[in-house]
């Protein structure tokens, strides 16, 4: 081990190219642990993407695996290829039995730089696997459709398996999927520990996306879902430590095969000082705000529908959508039209990107209408600032809201959300106690400094082979 600890963060579709919750978390993790050298191992769909973050000084190396780039390679030795494919066939047999196989032998047989794109088709054993699965599972569909579906599901796996990971003392995958697989491959090849942090549940998120899209249908849908599940299971099997942000996700990880003794919950944290110092001042009227980007996943349209209901019951109410509007211009236009058709132009305000503290100082209710979340930091920020919240029942939200049905609503249910807001409006005394309790909880458990320090300790412990300290 070198003098300074070298941690390789394995990232897929996030930092440092894409902004968002996970990226922001990674950026802060790197900044808060200046004593650690970080190596970024990113998995990108195309090369030469623009960086969305200025890399901190302790990022010492950045390696980008571009999935769209195909490298032709094939072993000359037929014997060697036979051995590799024997292993692959055995592995698939276990997959079929829904068992997670060990891939140590396979990875050790394949040198970095050897990609299976070609041999998986050209080698007879590989081809037979494709054909057998086609005949067994999809005999009535054109073989060509099956072949190209197989290829698109497997190519990225081959890219990851053939790629040489940078050297590090600890590998830290920030999701399962291809990043998780890259972590597994790195762990086997380099013999170093692997940590996994899942902000959401990768396979579940992908499954939702696949079920929503019209591009993938029928058996191809099942194929993709199976592969994502298997990638998650494989990552769980090989990780030395599996971290989730909240208890619900930890349980889901265990359900999918994560060994319970390796799982740990480390929630996201916020800058306590920044939000605890906000001075609250009551403004005339009743102010409801949603902090988030104007994008479909945040379901701003449900927020507007909720505003329509509330505005009838609480005539003095005002609504604020606080966040960037430029990410999905089409969706933003739809939202503006909805506001207009509900005649809410004087009540509903798109503020654009703002310093949220200004709004936390006077908001009476913080609203969250997302259809998907992991652990929304805005709720923590709101609680710390003294703002109560009404939210959809997604991710860690129920836990944050103490499973109190008064403040929780199913996704896309403006009536129930409006009822939650009305409850807060009608019960100011009750709310005082709840707000104080929420604030105390955030200060105690969600302090960003403590969270990142914990990661520092985990890196040290895992690298020394001592495990981690609770």
């Amino acid at each position: 081990m070198s003098e300074r600890l070298r941690v390789c963060l394995i990232l897929e579709g996030s930092y440092p190219f894409i902004t968002g919750g996970v990226s922001s978390w990674v950026h802060q993790l790197i900044q808060r642990l200046p004593e650690v050298d970080f190596v970024l191992y990113t998995i990108s769909p195309k090369k030469d993407q623009t960086l969305s973050y200025e890399l901190p000084e302790n990022v010492v190396e950045h390696v980008d695996l571009v999935l769209s780039e195909r490298k032709k390679s094939s072993y000359k030795s037929l014997y060697r290829k036979k051995k590799i494919f024997k292993e692959i066939v055995e592995m698939h047999k276990l997959f079929m039995l829904n068992t997670v196989p060990s891939i140590d032998n396979l990875i050790n047989m394949m040198e970095p730089g050897y990609y299976l794109y070609y041999d998986s088709v050209k080698q007879r054993e590989g081809w037979n696997l494709i054909v057998e699965n086609n005949v067994k599972n999809n005999p009535i569909y054109p073989f060509s459709d099956y072949f190209w579906a197989w290829k698109s599901t497997h190519d990225m796996i081959f890219s990851v398996m053939g790629f040489e990971a940078p050297d590090a003392d600890v590998y830290h995958a920030i999701s399962t999927g291809y990043a998780g697989l890259a972590g597994v491959v790195a762990k086997i090849r380099k013999g170093k520990p692997l940590i996994l942090t899942e902000h959401g549940l990768y396979h579940k998120e992908r499954e939702i996306e696949i079920r929503r899209t019209n591009l993938i249908r029928g058996y191809q849908r099942d194929m993709w879902i199976k592969i994502y599940n298997m990638l998650s299971k494989l990552t769980y099997k090989y990780s030395d430590l599996i971290i989730s942000l909240f208890e619900y996700n930890r349980e889901k990880q265990i359900e999918l095969g994560a060994p319970e003794e390796k799982t740990l919950v480390i929630p996201n944290g916020i800058d306590i000082e920044r939000f605890a110092s906000i001075k609250r001042e009551k403004r005339e009227g009743f102010h409801v705000g949603l902090v988030g980007r104007v994008v479909p996943i945040k379901d701003i349209k449900t927020f507007i529908s909720t505003a329509k209901i509330i505005s009838k019951e609480i005539p003095e109410s005002q609504f604020y959508c606080i966040g960037p509007t430029d990410e999905d211009p089409g969706y933003f236009e739809d939202c503006k039209l909805l506001v207009k058709s509900f005649h809410l132009e004087n009540k509903f305000h798109f503020t654009g990107k703002q310093d949220v503290r200004k709004y936390y100082s006077f908001l009476d209710v913080l609203m969250l209408t997302s259809i998907r979340e992991a652990q929304p930091l805005v709720l923590l920020e709101g609680f710390c600032s003294g703002v109560p919240a009404v939210a959809t029942r997604v991710g860690n939200v129920p836990e944050l809201l103490d499973y109190d049905d008064n403040f929780l609503a199913p996704s896309k249910d403006p009536v129930k959300l409006a009822a939650g807001v009305k409850y807060i409006y009608d019960n100011p005394e009750t709310m005082q106690g709840i707000v104080a309790r929420n604030r105390e909880k955030v200060i105690r458990f969600y302090d960003r400094e403590k969270v990142y320090r914990k990661y520092g300790d985990i890196y040290q412990g895992v690298a020394r082979g001592e495990g981690w300290l609770e």
Binding site: K72, Y118, K122, R124, W127, I140, S144, F147
Partner: protein, 459 residues
């Protein structure tokens, strides 16, 4: 080439002796244009214009034979790449680019042929009275024209005006014949060669004009062609080795046993050369049968199979594949029977041919051995075309390597042992072993052809 087969089949279906002859003539031109021209040219000129050729007859025939042989030995391999390139352009409906490719490649070949010709004629000096300078210029011109005719042949199979093409060939031959007589009387041997070259030049120019009507060139373009050379290198190597294999025994025996024509590098070895040229003519009917019958049957099955690869279930693909394999087996069997029967008949007539056409001065034994060699050579050619269709270029290359290696190696053994009775056996053995190799590769690999085609698509 399958396009021409369909067209000829259509003509044949009209019925009547006229259609039959039309098909035979057009087929002969397509499968062996310059080859027939060379042999018939030498035969007719030798018989009816010998006086015009002058006293240096060997210089005249040597020039024609060497131009023909070395056009294949040097440039034959490139024809395969060029055919593939042009076929792809025409398949993509980029006809103008196909015309440009012909123009560009013709210019390149002309340039190289002129250089090679200039170098070659440095070692040929016609004795006084033969008009050495005219001879040398005519030699270079003839070498260029023969090379260009090979290239134009690739296109004439695509143009359906077979009668027009046949007439152009015929007119060209008549011009050659008259040219030999006319210029031969004026300028002796040099003039005779000039006259012959003028006729060949007419064929080149008229065919080029005809082709340009259909595939109008719009410029000169080499980049893509060179890209093809890199991409299909085994196709190029196959072509080179196939032609080397075809000529290896002839060249080795000429050098070892032939007589040098004084004042030139020409080696004359009529004892072997004449039976070889005559025996090689027996390929022509087989090739015509191949393009009209065998190739069409296979092509239809291949097309169905390839279409099925994209549209059908795996079981249906397998069924279509085995239908295609059946068509290959059937085609090979039919070709073997057809060519075999033809070979047997000629084998039995060998003595008669010797007496009738050569006054008994003809090596019947060698002829018979070479006849069998031609049979295997023909089977090899058929197998190589199948391998090309399925894009197994590496296997075609290995088979050609065997053809060349065995023929060349065994020819050397014969030369070192000075065993004249063994003449022809190296060609026979090379053809036999190469055919067996190609057959093995074809029958083995075609069973997994769908896998290979998918693998190729992703490589």
């Amino acid at each position: 080439m399958a396009g021409i087969g369909f067209e000829l089949q259509r003509v044949l279906r009209k019925g009547g002796i006229g259609s039959f002859f039309k098909v035979v003539l057009a087929g002969s031109i397509v499968v062996a244009g310059p080859w027939i021209l060379t042999i018939l040219g030498i035969f007719f000129i030798g018989r009816y214009a010998e006086v015009a050729v002058g006293v240096y007859r060997n210089f005249f025939t040597g020039a024609i034979v060497y131009c023909y042989a070395f056009s294949l030995i040097i440039f034959g391999g490139t024809h395969y790449i060029f055919t593939r390139y042009v076929a792809d352009l025409i398949y993509m409906d980029r006809n103008n680019e196909a015309g440009s490719a012909l123009l560009s490649f013709s210019l390149l070949v002309t340039f190289l042929a002129v250089i090679i010709g200039i170098i070659a004629v440095r070692w040929v000096d016609l004795p006084e009275g033969g008009n050495n300078y005219i001879y040398k210029v005519s030699f270079i011109l003839l070498f260029v024209f023969v090379n260009l005719i090979w290239l134009l042949m690739i296109f004439i199979s695509l143009i359906k005006q077979f009668m027009a093409i046949f007439i152009l060939y015929l007119v060209g031959m008549v011009i050659s014949f008259l040219g030999v007589r006319f210029f031969g009387y004026l300028y002796k041997t040099g003039g005779a060669l000039l006259g012959y070259a003028v006729g060949q030049g007419f064929i080149v120019i008229s065919l080029f004009v005809l082709v340009s009507f259909h595939y109008r060139p719009h410029g000169i373009e080499f980049k893509d062609l060179f890209r093809y050379v890199l991409k299909y290198k085994f196709l190029l190597f196959t072509g080179v080795l196939y032609y080397w294999g075809m000529w290896a025994d002839k060249i080795v025996f000429k050098v070892a046993f032939g007589k040098v024509v004084p004042g030139s590098f020409f080696q004359i070895f009529d004892y072997y050369d004449i039976p070889v040229y005559i025996a090689n003519l027996t390929i022509i009917p087989g090739m015509i049968y191949y393009i009209i019958v065998t190739e069409i049957i296979f092509y239809i099955k291949l097309k169905e199979f390839l279409k099925g690869l994209h549209e059908n279930t795996y079981d249906t693909i397998q069924k279509k594949k085995y239908d295609m394999i059946k068509s290959i087996r059937y085609g090979l069997r039919e070709q073997a029977i057809f060519q075999g029967m033809f070979t047997i008949v000629i084998w039995l007539l060998a003595k008669g041919i010797s007496v009738e056409f050569f006054g008994g001065h003809f090596a019947v034994g060698v002829f018979r051995v070479v006849l069998i060699g031609v049979f295997f050579h023909f089977m090899l050619l058929t197998l190589i075309i199948y391998l090309f269709y399925l894009e197994y270029y590496i296997y075609a290359f290995i088979s050609s390597l065997v053809f060349f290696g065995v023929n060349f190696g065994f020819s050397l053994v014969i030369v070192f042992n000075r065993s004249l009775p063994m003449l022809g056996y190296s060609y026979l053995l090379g053809g036999f072993l190469a055919s067996v190799t190609a057959l093995g590769f074809l029958l083995y690999s075609v069973r997994y052809v769908e896998r290979d085609l998918y693998a190729r698509q992703i490589s």
